[in-house]
C-alpha cells in the first residue's frame, strides 16, 4: 500500500521527466512528457492488479527506460538525440547506451538541472512557477489552473509558450559551472518562494491545494539544499521560512474550513516538528555574512513561533524586522504587514497612520486584506460604521468562498456579534 499523503507519483514524475528530458534533449521535451505519461499509466495498470512493487521508484524508472527505448527505436531516423550520438545507429549499441544514461550517478542531479532550466531568464516569474509545477511536480494543466485560480485555456497557453522557450535553449542548464549556478540561483529561489506563497496566500478555494503547493515548494527547496552550490545561507533561510510558515497551515482553518485570523488560531495545532525543522534551518542560514529578505521573513515567522500564546508575540521585534524588510525588499504588502504589526505594538491609531503614510493603496486595490486591515483598525477604535464600510469593500474583492466567509464573520463583529479579533494578518 502506498501512503496517500506521500504523493509518490507526483514526486517521481518530476524526477523521471527531468531524466528523460536530459536523454532526449530539451528540444524533445514533448516526447519526454509522453514517456512519463506512459510509464505512470503502466504503473497504474500493473500495480492495480499485482500490488505495489517493493521498490516503486526503481520500478517506475525502469519502466520509463523501456518506454524511452521504444520511443528511440521509433523516432531515431526522424529526430536527433544528441545524448545518444552514434549509439542510435544499431540496436546493439542503443540499449547499453541508454542503460548508462539511466545510471543512478547520471540521474542524480536531473531534477535540480530541470529546476534551473525552468527558471530561464526569458520567462516571466509566473511562467517559471507554472512550468516547475507542470514538469517537476507533475501537475496537469487543470491542476496548475486550479492552483493559480486561473482559466484552463490561459494556463495552457502560458505553459505552451514557456515550453517553447525551454525547448529552444540549446541544452539543459549546466550545473557544473559555479558562476552560472550562482547567477541563476536567485531566480530559482524566487520561483520556489512564489510557489510557496501561491500555496500560503493564494486564493484556491480548496484547502488541500494550499497544503500541496507548500509541500511541493518545501520538497524542491530540499533538493536545492542537497547540492553544494545550492546550499547557500539564502536557501537555508528560504527553507526555514517555508517550514515555519507551513507549521501554521493546520491552524489557519477551523474545523468548518473557515479562515482563522492569526490571533484566533489554536497554537496547539501548529506542527511542532515543522517548527523545530524551521528553527534548525534558520540556524544554518546564519553561517555567512549574507542576509537576504528570506532571512528576515523567516525571522518574523520564528518570532511568531516563539510565542506560547498570541498575547506573548513580540510585536516590537516584528516591527523592526519589517523595517529591515522594507529597506531590502519594499512592497505594498510588506508595508501593510508592517502597519499591522505597528498597530499590534502601539495601537490601531498608529497602525492607521502608518497605512496612510507608507502603504500604496493604489497598488493593493484588488487585495481584499488591505481594506480588511483598515476595517480591523477602525473596529478596534470603536468606529464600527467606518469598519463596516471597509469590510464591505473587502468582501467585494474576495476571491473564494473561504475568504468571503472570513469577511462576513468580521462584518458580524461590526454589529457586535462574534468575538473581537485583532489583526488581519493570516
Amino acid at each position: 500500500m502506498i501512503d496517500p499523503i506521500d504523493h509518490l507519483f507526483r514526486r517521481e514524475s518530476g524526477r523521471i521527466a527531468a531524466t528523460v528530458a536530459r536523454i532526449f534533449g530539451v528540444r524533445n521535451l514533448a516526447l519526454a512528457e509522453d514517456v512519463v505519461q506512459e510509464a505512470f499509466c503502466r504503473a497504474l495498470e500493473v500495480w492495480s492488479f499485482r500490488g505495489v512493487p517493493r521498490n516503486p521508484s526503481a520500478w517506475l524508472m525502469a519502466t520509463a527506460k523501456n518506454c524511452a527505448l521504444d520511443v528511440l527505436r521509433r523516432e531515431r531516423t526522424a529526430r536527433s538525440f544528441a545524448a545518444l550520438g552514434d549509439a542510435l545507429q544499431s540496436e546493439w549499441t542503443l540499449a547499453p547506451a541508454l542503460e548508462e544514461l539511466f545510471e543512478p550517478q547520471a540521474i542524480r542531479d536531473d531534477l535540480l538541472r530541470m529546476m534551473f532550466s525552468c527558471c530561464h531568464p526569458r520567462l516571466h516569474e509566473t511562467a517559471q512557477v507554472a512550468l516547475i509545477l507542470h514538469i517537476l511536480c507533475g501537475f496537469s494543466v487543470a491542476e496548475v489552473a486550479s492552483a493559480f485560480v486561473s482559466g484552463h485555456a490561459a494556463i495552457e497557453k502560458r505553459l505552451t509558450r514557456a515550453k517553447k522557450v525551454l525547448a529552444k535553449s540549446p541544452a539543459l542548464f549546466d550545473l557544473s559551472a559555479p558562476t552560472d549556478f550562482s547567477r541563476r540561483l536567485p531566480a530559482v529561489q524566487r520561483a520556489l518562494y512564489l510557489l510557496f506563497n501561491e500555496g500560503y496566500h493564494g486564493a484556491a478555494p480548496d484547502a488541500a491545494v494550499h497544503t500541496d503547493l507548500c509541500g511541493e515548494a518545501r520538497r524542491l527547496a530540499g533538493v536545492l539544499l542537497e547540492h553544494p552550490f545550492g546550499a547557500t545561507p539564502a536557501t537555508f533561510a528560504l527553507a526555514a521560512l517555508m517550514s515555519l510558515n507551513s507549521a501554521r497551515l493546520p491552524a489557519r482553518l477551523d474545523s468548518a474550513g473557515n479562515l482563522v485570523a492569526l490571533a484566533g488560531q489554536d497554537r496547539a495545532s501548529w506542527d511542532q516538528e515543522l517548527v523545530a525543522e524551521g528553527l534548525g534551518l534558520l540556524g544554518l542560514s546564519a553561517s555567512g555574512t549574507e542576509i537576504s529578505a528570506y532571512h528576515i521573513e523567516a525571522a518574523i515567522a520564528s518570532v511568531h513561533a516563539a510565542a506560547a500564546r498570541t498575547e506573548d508575540i513580540d510585536w516590537r521585534a516584528i516591527v523592526s524586522l519589517y523595517d529591515q524588510l522594507m529597506r531590502m525588499a519594499p512592497s505594498p504588502i510588506v508595508a501593510l504587514n508592517r502597519a499591522i504589526a505597528i498597530a499590534q505594538a502601539d495601537g490601531p491609531e498608529r497602525g492607521l497612520a502608518e497605512v496612510h503614510a507608507a502603504v500604496d493603496g493604489q497598488r493593493l486595490s484588488t487585495y481584499p486584506f488591505y481594506p480588511a486591515a483598515l476595517g480591523e483598525f477602525e473596529l478596534r477604535l470603536g468606529r464600527s460604521a467606518a469598519a463596516r464600510e471597509h469590510f464591505r469593500a473587502a468582501r467585494a474583492l474576495t476571491r473564494s468562498q473561504m475568504e468571503r466567509r472570513f469577511i462576513d464573520q468580521r462584518l458580524r463583529a461590526c454589529d457586535g456579534g462574534g468575538e473581537l479579533r485583532t489583526g488581519s494578518e493570516r
Partner: protein, 112 residues
C-alpha cells in the same frame, strides 16, 4: 458459489500522476475489500492494448483495433453466489468512475 470472469473495458486514463495515484489507490482498496470477503479467486492480469490476431487461414494481423471504449484492459476471476451478486460486486469497480465498464461473465458449469 460460482465463478465469474470480470472483463474490464475502456475507461479514460487519468491526466496527471496525482490522479493516477488516486485511481490506483481506489483499485487497491476495491480488490482488498473483495479479497477480505473471499470473492477473489484470482486478481487476474492487466492486458496490453493490442497484440496480434490469428485469422482463419492462419494469417496473422496486428490488432484487434477495437474502439477505445471496448478494449479489454484486464480480467479477474471472482467468486459469487450468483450472477446478480457478481454484478453487484462489479458496481464497486473504480473503472466505472472513469467511463469504463465491467463485463461479468459466468464461467460455464457442467456436471459430469
Amino acid at each position: 458459489m460460482s465463478e465469474f470472469v470480470f472483463l474490464y473495458r475502456g475507461g479514460d486514463r487519468p491526466e496527471s500522476p496525482e490522479l493516477m495515484q488516486q485511481v490506483l489507490q481506489k483499485w487497491m482498496a476495491w480488490f482488498n475489500t473483495l479479497t477480505e470477503k473471499g470473492h477473489v479467486v484470482a486478481r487476474g492480469q492487466p492486458l496490453e492494448r493490442s497484440g496480434k490476431v490469428v485469422n482463419n487461414g492462419k494469417t496473422v494481423t496486428d490488432g484487434p483495433f477495437a474502439e477505445a471504449k471496448d478494449v479489454v484492459g484486464g480480467y479477474s476471476l471472482i467468486n459469487a453466489r450468483d450472477i446478480s451478486e457478481a454484478a453487484e460486486l462489479a458496481k464497486g469497480c473504480p473503472i466505472l468512475e472513469r467511463g469504463g465498464r465491467v463485463e461479468v461473465r459466468p464461467v460455464m458449469k457442467f456436471d459430469m
